[in-house]
Structures are given as C-alpha cells and as structure tokens.
C-alpha cells in the first residue's frame, strides 16, 4: 500500500473535476481541504486479502443479524434506543432475498503489519461517488494506466436493478436539508435514471405505507414506490414525526438498507458475540480483525482502551486524545460517565501511517464495501491524525496487478 502524489500542476484541475464530475460538493471542512493530494495504491495481494476478509465478515454479519431478528432477546445488551427497540419485533417478515444489503467495513493498516477494522457502516454507508468516480479522475492525471479500480456504483445499481421492477420508481430517502446527503443520492439517482428508473429525491417522512408497501406522498410525485434507498440513519428516522417511519420496519418494498441493519450498526454489536457464538454462530473473522471491545464499566482499570459512541458516525466522539480539539476529550469523558450504555470501550490499535513523497505521515481508513455478500469496491480517507473523522481527506483507491473481481 502506498501513496502517489498527484502532480502539483494538475491538482487544481483535478480538484475542480472531483467537485463537479465526481459529486464532491463538500471539498472543504473548516480549515481543511477534503480532497487529498494523493492516490492510494494497494497491491493485488492486499486487494485479494481485503476482498476475502470483507466477504467473510459479511457472511458472519448477515448470519448474526438474521439470527438476532428471530431471537430478539439476544439484542437486549445492544442497548438500542427504546423507540427503535420497540419496532424491531415488526421485522419478522424480513426476507434477505427481497432487499439489497449494503455494508462498508473500515480497515486500517497497523504497525504489526496486519489489518484492524474499526467498524462496519451497516446502516447507511456513504462515499458512493468518491469510490466510483474519483479513481478514474485520478487515473487521468497520474498516467498509470496499469492501475484499475472496482466501480462500486455499477455494482450497487446493478444489485438494485435486480430487485426493483424494471422502470420502477425508486425513492432516495435522505435529509433533504443537507447537501452532503444529497450529493450521495444525486450520484446514485443519476445512474439509476440512466438505467430507466424514475427517481424521487425525498425525505423519510415522504413515504407512507399501506399493506406493507411504500407510497410517495411528496407533492407532485405521489404514487407507489417500487424501491427505497435510505440514507437517513435509523436512529434519526425514529425522531421524525409523524410516525410514518414505522412502515420501514415491515415493508416488503425492496429496501437498501432494510432496518435489520441496525444490529451491526451499533458499535455495541461485539458485546453480544459470546452469546451469539454459544448459539452456534461463527464470528472468527470479526474476532481476528476487531480490537477487543468491552463495556465502559469493565475498562476502568485497563490500559490502552478508548471510548466510542454506540451510534457514532465519521469518527465523532471517539476519545483519541491527540486527535481531539481543545476541550473535546474532557467533554467526551464526561458524556461517557453520564451515559455509559451509549458507549463502549475498545482496545486502541496502532495505526501505521503511510509516508508520502513529501515525507508527511498519513493514517489511512480503507472502507471496503459489500453488496449482497460480494465485495464491491473501496472508499478511503487519509488524515494526519490516527482518528479518521470529518477533517480527513477523501482519497481515490487504485489497485495494482491484474483484475481480480
């Protein structure tokens, strides 16, 4: 795995192309440029290893969530929000074959020359256009034709097309006030539209459900919906009034993702692994890659543990001291003390930074997608600190060697 610098004289044009042609509408976060000046190149061997790991993790995760859906008593320790827990019993009709299951596992190289994963983005992973279009934009400026990438967007849209009726209507459910949500949906919508689908960009409360089927109530776009792609996180969904969101849990309309995704989305998922294994489930790949995870109360006198929020996203509220801004670390510890069940303690792994041609160290988070059990491409971010959060920069991933799909 290595970093290749984008030639300085080509970077400005590259950045502009990424913004306009690769749906990167948020190129700046506070004082940080979020479009990396490098390309991440992984070897064929690394790709094959990651692909294998991703698919193994996916088998284990999906088996676990299907088991939990039928045995909800095991999910109690996940300490999901009450409103959400109440709805889980309505998912009994969940049929994996009817829906599209999308996940992204976040890998990190460690100083022991191994991989560690920090989480699975099980519910609403993002980075679609960055994973699909940025690699080609980068290839256009670095002149390394031998490198290739897996087009995540093609894989996801083909999976959706297999499960949604031909020329059907797909609602792309997102927070319509957030342009960074819309950019993800717009990329997907433009692709699906070209495939013949009718696309509706709308918010979670623009869906109504009758007889377990989804209907749009969006002004000027009313009618039956044949597919749902949801980018509004489940824990946000349940705060939406009126409560039309209940229908998401037992709908038979093909969904990506179905709310069954919540079991692995909570970072407290590892806290029930012992119980799951006693019931015959295998979690060997998870055990190999995820650092030891325990309850907050059990980490009191233990060295080397960090706190993570159960429902955290993009690295927020993780207690890596040197990555926190002024006062943030103390604020997190205070919140952990107040709400221990909303957090977990995890053994900190030692991220191995990559060194750029300019001699700068960058930590890497390499997200590896799976779609319906198959590896589906990469979305990566780099950061000068070990915590990869919103200040990190998006970096395209290219693969060396022959194509191994």
């Amino acid at each position: 795995m290595r970093l290749i610098s984008i030639p300085k004289d080509k970077y400005d044009e590259y950045r502009l192309n990424v913004i306009f042609d690769c749906y990167k509408w948020d190129p700046q976060f506070l004082d940080n440029n979020t479009i990396a000046k490098h390309v991440l190149v992984i070897t064929k061997e690394e790709h094959e290893e990651l692909m294998k790991y991703t698919e193994s993790l996916d088998v284990e995760t999906r088996a676990a969530e299907e088991f939990l859906n039928k045995n909800l008593k095991f999910a109690k320790k996940l300490a999901l929000p009450k409103k959400l827990s109440r709805e889980l019993r309505n998912m009994k009709n969940y049929s994996p074959d009817k829906h599209v299951r999308l996940m992204r596992y976040d890998f990190h190289p460690t100083i022991e020359d191994k991989w560690a994963i920090s989480e699975v983005n099980s519910d609403v992973p993002g980075g679609f256009a960055e994973a699909s279009l940025m690699p080609q934009a980068a290839k256009d400026v670095i002149n390394m034709e031998e490198l290739w990438h897996k087009n995540f967007g093609d894989i996801l849209t083909n999976a959706i097309a297999k499960k949604v009726k031909v020329n059907g209507t797909i609602m792309l459910v997102h927070c319509t006030s957030y342009s960074d949500d819309r950019q993800v949906m717009q990329y997907l919508g433009d692709k699906l539209k070209k495939m013949g689908f009718k696309i509706i960009y709308a918010a979670a409360d623009h869906l109504n459900f009758k007889n377990n089927e989804a209907f749009s109530i969006l002004d000027g776009n009313e009618g039956k919906v044949d597919g749902i792609v949801r980018f509004t996180p489940l824990e946000w969904l349940i705060d939406i009034k009126p409560k039309r969101w209940q229908g998401y849990f037992d709908t038979i309309t093909p969904s990506c993702n179905h709310p069954v995704a919540i079991f692995a989305q909570t970072k407290r998922f590892p806290l029930i692994w012992d119980l799951l294994e006693k019931s015959g489930l295998k979690l060997d790949t998870w055990r190999e890659l995820l650092p030891e995870t325990i309850e907050v109360k059990d980490a009191k006198n233990k060295e080397g543990f960090i706190y993570k929020p159960a429902c955290g996203r993009v690295g927020e509220k993780i207690s890596i001291k040197e990555a926190c801004v002024e006062g943030e670390y103390e604020k997190i510890l205070k919140d952990v003390k107040k709400h221990p069940k909303k957090y977990l303690a995890q053994k900190r792994f030692n991220s191995k930074p990559l060194v750029s041609d300019e001699g700068e160290n960058y930590h890497v988070c390499l997200g590896s997608y799976s779609v319906d059990g198959k590896h589906a491409g990469y979305y990566a971010r780099i950061s000068k600190t070990p915590r990869i959060d919103s200040n990190a920069a998006d970096i395209p991933v290219l693969i060396e060697g022959g194509i191994a799909l």
């Binding site: 913004i19 509408w25 190129p27 004082d31 440029n33 006030s177 960009y201 409360d205 000027g220 776009n221």
Partner: protein
C-alpha cells in the same frame, strides 16, 4: 461558459478565502445557463460604511439574490472578495419547496460577469454571502420538499483561521438581527476574542454581543 467556469470566476485558485466557496449552487447551473445570462440584477448603493478596515471580515445575510448583489456592491466599492457559501439544494422535480435556491444560481451567473470586470486583490478581505431565506422551515403540508438549510461551523473558516489571518472583527449585514445558526457559530468565535458588529443597511455597523445559544438551539 459552463458551471465550472462560473465557479472558477468566484473561486480563482490563487486567491485567498476562496477555499470556502460552496460548490452546491454551481453544480446544477449548466443546462439553463443561457437563460440565466439574460437576467439583470441591480447592484445597490452601499452607504453604511465609508472605508474598509483591514482587520474586518463581512457576512452579508440577505434574502435570495439580494445577498449576491449586496456582496458585489461591497466588492465593487471596497474591493472585498465575495465568498458565496450557499448550501441549499434544489427540490425534486414537480414538488413544492419551502426555499427557492434556484434564484441564487441565476444571480451567481450574473455576478460572475460582474466579477470579471473587477480587479480584486489576491488577498482581498472576504465578504461571505448567505441567503437569509435558508431557514424558512414553514411547510404548509407534509408533502412539501424541505430544502431549507443551516450554516454550520464546518462551512466557514475557524475562529483561529480568522485570527491568524488578521481578522479581529466580523460585521454582519442582515435584515434585523444575526440569524440563529450564525449566532451559534459566532458565540464560540466571540469567546476566542473576535468582536461582532451588525448593520441593517441603513446605519453604520454597531457592536453587538452574541448571546449564548439556548440548549434547544443545539
């Protein structure tokens, strides 16, 4: 010109502060560009300042295209660099929406031609442009497409960046008051030593103290 060209006029690569120009309204400009070019807004007279101060950045927070026009007035008269930070998206085709973000696109195309005629310094002081209609949350029915939006701390430079670049004061040119979302950000800036001023466009900017945001504003 295509949308990228319009963006480059507003955000020339070698100019200061332009990293914060939000691309969102520029993205969907393309198809209707020819129509946009025929619009002609008026640059207003600016009488509430006599000269710019080198330690002061400005935020213009006015409804819709008025904010673009006012920003260009400050650019024309005092040499400020207008930094559009509009972040609202367009509604689903056919749906009623609570904010008209398209007019901003039209104004930005028109404004690009105005900017082309100006010779702004590379390190010109910034005037950030915002649409004060952005927080129009009123929905007459649940079927309305909500494309209202807020400005967040991550959308503008940090207090440290302002201070490190010699900015000790921020003037907000608004309608009546500093809006809620800006106040939330600016309260933190104030704690770090930045002073705030407000003008409604009729009188000179007056110093204001930003109140601590209420809990339910979080």
């Amino acid at each position: 010109m295509i949308n990228k060209d319009i963006f480059k006029i507003w955000a020339p690569v070698d100019a200061k502060w332009v990293d914060w120009v939000r691309p969102v309204p520029f993205i969907s400009i393309d198809d209707e560009l020819k129509t946009y070019e025929s619009f002609n807004f008026v640059i207003p007279n600016v009488n509430y300042i006599e000269e710019k101060s080198v330690d002061t950045a400005w935020f213009v927070d006015l409804p819709s295209y008025d904010s673009v026009a006012e920003g260009l007035a400050l650019a024309s008269k005092f040499g400020f660099r207008p930094i559009p930070i509009y972040n609202g998206t367009n509604e689903q085709q056919g749906a009623m929406a609570n904010v008209n973000n398209q007019t901003i696109e039209v104004a930005l195309v028109w404004g690009a031609y105005v900017l082309l005629k100006l010779k702004l310094e590379k390190d010109a002081l910034p005037v950030f442009l915002l649409d004060s209609n952005r927080m129009n949350r009123y929905k007459m029915s649940p079927s309305v497409f909500d494309n209202s939006w807020d400005i967040y701390h991550q959308d503008i430079p940090s207090a440290e960046y302002f201070l490190n670049n010699g900015i000790k004061k921020i003037v907000v040119r608004g309608k009546e008051k500093i809006e809620k979302d800006l106040s939330k950000i600016f309260y933190g800036f104030q704690k770090k030593g930045i002073k705030f001023f407000f003008t409604d466009g009729y009188s000179e900017p007056k110093e204001v103290v930003i109140k601590k945001p209420k809990r339910d504003d979080d």
